[in-house]
Subunit: 280 residues, 2 copies
């Protein structure tokens, strides 16, 4: 099932053509987005998602998104939804039509969670490491590369996932050429060692994760240590658990990396998933 | 003036909504494009543009574009056009709607050339060098980064142009962090020294230029030497001429780089422009 609400507060048919061919979101991937998980009618981390949408838009020198209007669009989607208990709501905000008056295009699109993601939440995933062409320092030195902005220009992220599939894997862990861990194409990497969780710093040019932040909040409250620190690929193999986390996939454990089985983290996954769920 | 033709051969209103919100071209910048210059009803380098569209699509693992259908769409735009003697025709080809049957979205959109570009063709441009975060070898090592594909994920190219504007310049020359010249965000760099033209190799992860190829063809026939070879930023300052070339801007001379005036290449520009125009 899919439900669509436009930023002006009107419902719309998701199967109808609604975007002009000269929308810069289409012609140039020039816009930003967020994907929010809704469970039992409650959006998770809505505030942090909206904040990140605004931050991404600022990185692209776009007009400030009307967050109240996005909230209303989300409410409209939830009010109309008659599908299952979980919804992925995608917020999209583009620079509007080329040569237009600068009015951005915006909408909220509610969708079912794919069966594949549901299966991966339970069964875990295999991943491959792929170089991302980002070196430490680049993001701060070259802000025009938009590293760490959640822009609509995601063709590379999608190509990396196809490369993973070619290699017989489900997912990707992006790395620097010197073997430092970055993130997944649509997820944040979290590493567990003992009762410490680690995630790479967003200053590397990666997206600060909303789900990772929620997990760290819950873990810290439960007495775990959490750290934001560089992680080498070599550190992933002996770790107690490697997880790719995102709104829609929640806490998904990586059971195989570059063809090698990682230590069984099934029990740890149950613990972390419980911590994460305790936030809601 | 703007004229639109869909890939299925039907004309359409460019101001009407025609694209679904779940088109992957919009949601993920997942598609490819070309921009073709038409002068006096004749498309320039149509074959090379269509070949490059197909090559970009292959790099993105997209279905092969129906080039005959794109030719018909271009013809339809030209047959309907009642504006000025020059048209920029943009071809767009996306992966189609998310979770759909894989039918790509495609169209040809004819547009006027902007007065700004017309002025820059005559008066030249100022440019700034900006790091692109691509090192030699990366494109071949990591094809999933889609370096050298003309994808719809152009948010970084647009951000670089805004950075140039902030620095008081018109255009950008992308460089590696070690100071090797790459390309412009929407153009190819050509350097003239004596009667030799040089452009950086596409193996660096940049787009092979259709206009640069046409210029080189004409120059070679006129007795010039042409070479595809790495160029350092330092080589740009003493050169006889630095040019950013593309279909729509043709051969545009760079008169100022990073705030420093380059040697006057007005005469040289006239010569090269004449060579280029002699191709048509």
């Amino acid at each position: 099932m899919r439900v669509l609400a436009l930023l002006d507060g009107t419902p719309a048919d998701p199967d109808a053509p609604l975007i002009r061919v000269d929308d810069l979101g289409l012609l140039r991937g020039d816009g930003v987005f967020e994907t929010i998980l809704v469970v039992g009618g409650e959006p998770r981390e809505l505030g942090p998602h909206l904040d990140r949408l605004a931050r991404s838009a600022a990185m692209l020198d776009m007009p400030e998104p009307d967050l109240a209007a996005f909230r209303r669009a989300v409410d409209l989607v939830l009010g109309t939804w008659s599908g299952g208990p979980e919804i992925a709501v995608k917020l999209v905000f583009t620079r509007g039509v080329e040569g237009g008056d600068g009015t951005p295009t915006g909408f909220a699109l509610g969708m079912d969670i794919s069966p594949k993601v549901i299966a991966q939440r339970a069964g875990g995933i295999s991943a491959v490491t792929l170089e991302r062409g980002i070196e430490p320092g680049l993001a701060e030195r070259a802000p025009w590369l938009l590293l760490g902005a959640k822009s609509l220009s995601y063709a590379v992220n999608m190509a990396a996932l196809r490369e993973a599939e070619r290699r017989g894997a489900d997912e990707v862990v992006f790395t620097t050429s010197s073997g430092s861990v970055l993130e997944g194409p649509t997820s944040t990497l979290v590493l567990a060692r003992g009762r410490t969780l680690t995630t790479p710093p967003s200053t590397l040019g990666i997206l600060p994760g909303t789900t990772q932040a929620a997990l760290f909040r819950a873990a810290e409250r439960a007495g775990w240590s959490v750290e934001v620190a560089p992680v080498d690929v070599a550190e992933l193999y002996p770790a107690d658990g490697v997880f790719l986390v995102s709104s829609v996939r929640k806490i998904t454990r990586v059971h195989t990396l570059d063809g090698k089985a990682l230590p069984d983290s099934t029990g740890l996954h149950t613990v972390l998933d419980g911590l994460y769920e305790s936030e809601y």
